[in-house]
Amino acid sequence: MRIQGRNIGIAVYLIILFLPIYWLLNMSFKTNVEITSRLSFWPQHVTFRNYAHIFFDPVWRGGFIHSLTYVCLNTVISVTVALPAAYAFSRYRFIGDKHLFFWLLSNLMAPAAVFAMPFFNLYYSVGLFDTVWAVALAHCLFNVPLAVWILEGFISGIPREIDETAALDGYAFPRFFVKLFLPLIANGIGVAAFFCFMFSWVEQLLASTLTTINAKPIVSVMTQVYSAAGMDWGLLSAAGVLTMIPGAVVIWFVRNHIAKGFALGRV
């Protein structure tokens, strides 16, 4: 009985969760005429016109490419920079460590709205405005601290005896770190990369503030459907459906570590 109740509970939750997503999927296969004329649970005349439009229009395609580019750049930068720092925070005490750690975390909690205007000025003045680099670097604001936090949790789960044994065995530190240590925290790196990907992928305010034409992310392209004469609901829905795919793919890769990952390696 107990188990049954649980299964029903989770089933109900998942159905409610997917109802709005299903509605979007449903609309993406309809024509605009059908969308505005009647409500139905499935398309009466399935059309792929909306998807075809996105695939063949360079603006839409470019949007996807720009978004994926800065997300990947940001993930690589964040994890690379965060690794040594996370190691230091996990293994050593040093002057100002606690304050520094808190200061890093506080950036994680900084409202993006606060940074929108100064980022605009900053990236404009260094000539990075409207490039994927601007967005990739801007997202470091919250992704670097997040990566440090997650990696620190995972590294602290590895006993320090391993470092000491390796040193006794004559491993120089860089060799030890790359050859022995990185494989040990591979899960943690995967989880950190996943989170950086996730937060960079979902963010819109900074990404759209820092770009105009050449690096316009998909989320900005989408908001422009709004201002176009008459709403193209079908197109908007199709774009929405497509933006879920990268997320679903990366989730699948980390599915076995996802729970521990969300606890930031701290359970």
Partner: protein
């Protein structure tokens, strides 16, 4: 925890992070501080304005101050409401997640999916879903006789934003709680079974205390995220109707990027940032204390 060796050379490891954060956080922050104490007549000509922007902002009787105070109150109410709904619901969902077999991975992936949808798209999904003419929710509610219009009626707008947030983020609380629950050794449950403990007392005396740490993280992340919510309401309601769902970030973006009112925006940014910083510090202190207790 306690026996970490003392080494200031560890600073070298931190330098890369420091450089990135200086560039992406401290430098822009200084620009904001700069604007917050100056005024301009245009043409990039700035002059010293002292604390006038701040005085204006923190005086609720002034135009700007009133606007800020009401956005702050609105935002605090919103954060409180979503926490009260999402935390218990998330724990309940976590308890329901299967423990064995292929269903575990599948359920976790499905629960996490809304977290990876771009926030604009989350807004779009709910904008469409809530419309009375083409959305299932809006049409259904109006069909059964409930007056519902999320762009004209403040109550509907609030309900939509809260439900959207619950839909969007409960998965995170559930995943965190699930991680916490999985870390409880089976021996605890066996002992409870031998004692003939009820389901409720297992939850109250075993699961809840063990979840304490992940729940602090969950509350911290949820509070912060909801306190700086911008994208989703900006798509669904645009802060309206009127000012009904105009939270702090929405208001700030309106002032900073819409009206380009640099002084007011900068002063507001700093006060906003200091509030989040204070709350973050409180949580951080609680967290390190829990860490230390665990370490002993």
């Amino acid at each position: 925890m306690m026996d970490k060796p003392w080494s200031n050379r560890a600073w070298f490891f931190v330098i890369p992070v420091l450089v990135v954060v200086l560039f992406s956080s401290l430098l822009p922050m200084m620009t904001v501080v700069n604007y917050s104490v100056q005024d301009t007549m245009g043409q990039n000509h700035f002059f010293w304005n002292g604390a006038a922007w701040f005085q204006n902002l923190l005086d609720p009787t002034s135009d700007m101050g009133g606007r800020f105070a009401s956005a702050l109150v609105r935002n605090l109410i919103f954060s409180f409401v979503v926490l009260v709904i999402e935390v218990p619901l998330g724990i309940a969902v976590a308890i329901c997640i299967p423990r064995h077999g292929w269903k575990v991975g599948a359920t976790l992936v499905l629960i996490a999916l809304p977290l990876l949808i771009p926030w604009t798209v989350v807004g779009t999904i709910w904008e469409i879903f809530a419309r009375q003419d083409i959305g299932l929710l809006g049409a259904a509610l109006n069909g059964i006789g409930i007056h519902y219009n999320d762009t004209e009626d403040p109550t509907s707008a609030w309900a939509t934003i809260v439900i959207m947030d619950v839909w969007h983020w409960t998965g995170m609380v559930a995943l965190l709680s699930y991680a916490g629950l999985k870390a409880i050794p089976d021996a605890f449950y066996q002992a409870a079974r031998i004692d003939g403990a009820s389901r409720w007392s297992v939850f109250r005396n075993i699961e809840l205390p063990k979840l304490q740490k992940v729940l602090v993280i969950a509350v911290l992340l949820r509070f912060m995220e909801s306190f700086m919510i911008y994208t989703e309401p900006s798509v669904v309601t645009g802060g309206g109707p009127g000012e009904a769902t105009s939270f702090l970030s929405l208001d700030l973006v309106k002032i900073a990027l819409g009206q380009v009112d640099l002084g007011n925006a900068a002063a507001m940014s700093i006060v906003y940032y200091l509030i989040t910083l204070t709350i973050c510090w409180i949580f951080f202190t609680i967290m390190t204390q829990l860490d230390q207790r665990k370490g002993l």
